[in-house]
């Protein structure tokens, strides 16, 4: 099991459309709209590195996505 945060920057005016497409994708644990350097933070949960690559590919293919930055989780503590 591989978990990763995918940090996304969208083109201005495309946030809603990108979110709608994003919510259709599989292997996603959470989607957060944020205010700061990024626009959307996705937490992905996949079985293999290849699945993560496929997911980021699908996110890149969404119209309105400007840039992504993937942070693979090595260790995690949750409440």
């Amino acid at each position: 099991m591989i978990k990763a945060y995918i940090l996304i920057i969208t083109y201005v005016g495309n946030l809603k459309a990108v979110l709608e497409e994003m919510r259709k994708l599989e292997n996603i644990e959470s989607i957060a709209v944020v205010a700061g350097d990024y626009d959307i933070i996705v937490k992905a949960k996949v079985d293999t590195p290849e699945d993560l690559m496929e997911l980021t590919d699908k996110i890149h293919a969404i119209k309105g996505v400007k840039r992504t930055n993937t942070q693979v989780i090595e260790k995690e503590i949750e409440a």
């Binding site: 945060y5 996603i28 944020v34 700061g36 933070i41 090595e74 949750e78 409440a79």
Partner: protein
């Protein structure tokens, strides 16, 4: 299913209250119509409950497509199963809690002709849970949660209070020192069971409810037997009313399954506070039931005024719960050579931080935090972050909206 977790939590807790209100009226109907001995009734209803719950669990275990029928109520449910070794101690504690709370409740209704005035103080259990969470949980209640809890508690007491009832020291002592603490034990251990992972997935509310009923019935039977043996054996005679008990416990099953699911998503105190809606939902059911049995919705105009004020407080309190949570992501870059594990622990120790992940990429750690208001939390958490030596840089991303897989 990916939805906003906050909405799902409120939908589950409010639906549980709605169903619970229906059960309250059925139980009132049973006790008023048949004037059954309360001790035998409490045991008989649990025995009937095991049978109907077992039948319902078997039906819900039927596979439909790739999932079971019960997965529609709780997506984590596969089939009825034996409890795992690690679950037993939690089931034991939840069972003892539920049995003691039930026996305390029936003790009150067996000695007082009109117990509603005393039982209205059961609502203080919200504050007990809040206190427990403040002491024991990392995710401590925020000031807004404390305020909302007090508003809901007082509102619920006002809405369920009866002027006809008697208030005396013994009754209050039982509520404050037996009934409420036992319910706290029950709620906290049910929550622990729900957030526990079984075979890599979240535990399901259906199995938790079934096994809780088994353990609760066992402990209740022991308590009823030692209080008065005759009541213990009378319980089996009382099973001739099995159809009404099946109806009551069959509906209770769904109310509890939704309540346990809500417990897994939110805090026990907030779940209990939202459950105070039961008092509001019970009103239309009581009016309906008053056509069949001699029960009244209110006794006087002052009580009606008090009830309406209480209902308004409950609604306002629950709404303010829903509107006060703020969450944020914090991105951290560590100083070169600083031990990441130490940084991870230091971040995790900050009050309000709900998760910390060590990541590979542009940043070294990503933390998630929740706070009362963005301004207050930002200041408090930033002060803590600035004290940590190994941090080179941190960035803050406030969460505006979030969908989570449930």
């Amino acid at each position: 299913m990916r939805i906003r977790k906050k909405y799902l939590f409120y939908v589950l807790a409010i639906l549980s209250s709605l169903i619970g209100a229906g059960v309250t009226v059925i139980d009132t109907y049973i006790s008023v119509k048949y004037e059954l001995n309360p001790w035998s009734l409490c045991l008989a209803i649990f025995i009937a409950g095991i049978l109907i719950t077992f039948l319902l669990c078997l039906i819900l275990s039927i596979p439909v497509g790739k999932k079971s029928l019960g997965a529609r109520i709780d997506p984590s449910f596969k089939r009825l199963r034996l409890p795992k070794k690690e679950e037993i101690k939690f089931h034991l504690m939840a069972g003892i809690g539920n049995a003691v709370a039930t026996v305390a409740y029936f003790f009150i209704i067996s000695i007082y002709r009109e117990p509603s005035a005393i039982l209205s103080f059961f609502e203080v259990v919200i504050l007990y849970l809040l206190l427990m969470e403040s002491i024991a949980e990392k995710n401590a209640p925020t000031l807004a949660e404390v305020q909302s809890s007090i508003v809901v508690t007082f509102g619920a007491i006002m809405a369920s209070f009866s002027f006809q009832g008697e208030i005396n020291l013994l009754g209050l002592l039982i509520v404050f020192f037996v009934l409420n603490p036992a319910w706290v034990v029950f709620s906290i251990y049910q929550r622990k069971l729900k957030i526990m992972k079984i075979d890599g997935r979240h535990n399901d509310a259906i199995n938790i409810r079934f096994w809780n009923l088994i353990f609760t019935t066992f402990f209740t039977a022991i308590l009823v037997y030692f209080i008065d043996r005759r009541n213990f054996f009378n319980a089996f005679d009382m099973l001739k009313h099995w159809n009404l008990f099946f109806l009551s416990m069959g509906i209770t099953f769904f109310s509890y399954v939704l309540y346990i699911r809500a417990l897994g998503l939110g805090k026990a105190s907030v779940t209990q506070a939202v459950k105070a809606f039961t008092i509001i939902f019970a009103i239309p059911f009581s009016i309906l039931a008053s056509n069949f049995v001699p029960i009244s919705f209110y006794e006087s105009v002052p009580q009606l005024v008090l009830k309406i004020m209480g209902i308004i407080l409950v609604i306002v309190g629950v709404i303010s719960f829903a509107l006060t949570e703020v969450k944020a992501y914090i991105f951290i870059k560590a100083k070169t050579g600083y031990p990441i594990n130490e940084l991870l622990t230091n971040l995790w120790n900050i009050k309000g931080v709900t998760s910390v992940a060590v990541v590979a990429g542009r940043y070294d750690l990503i933390a998630k935090a929740r706070m009362r208001t963005l301004g207050k939390g930002y200041e408090r958490i930033i002060r803590e972050l600035e004290k940590i030596k190994g941090i080179e840089y941190f960035g803050w991303e406030a969460i505006l909206k979030e969908w989570e897989e449930v």
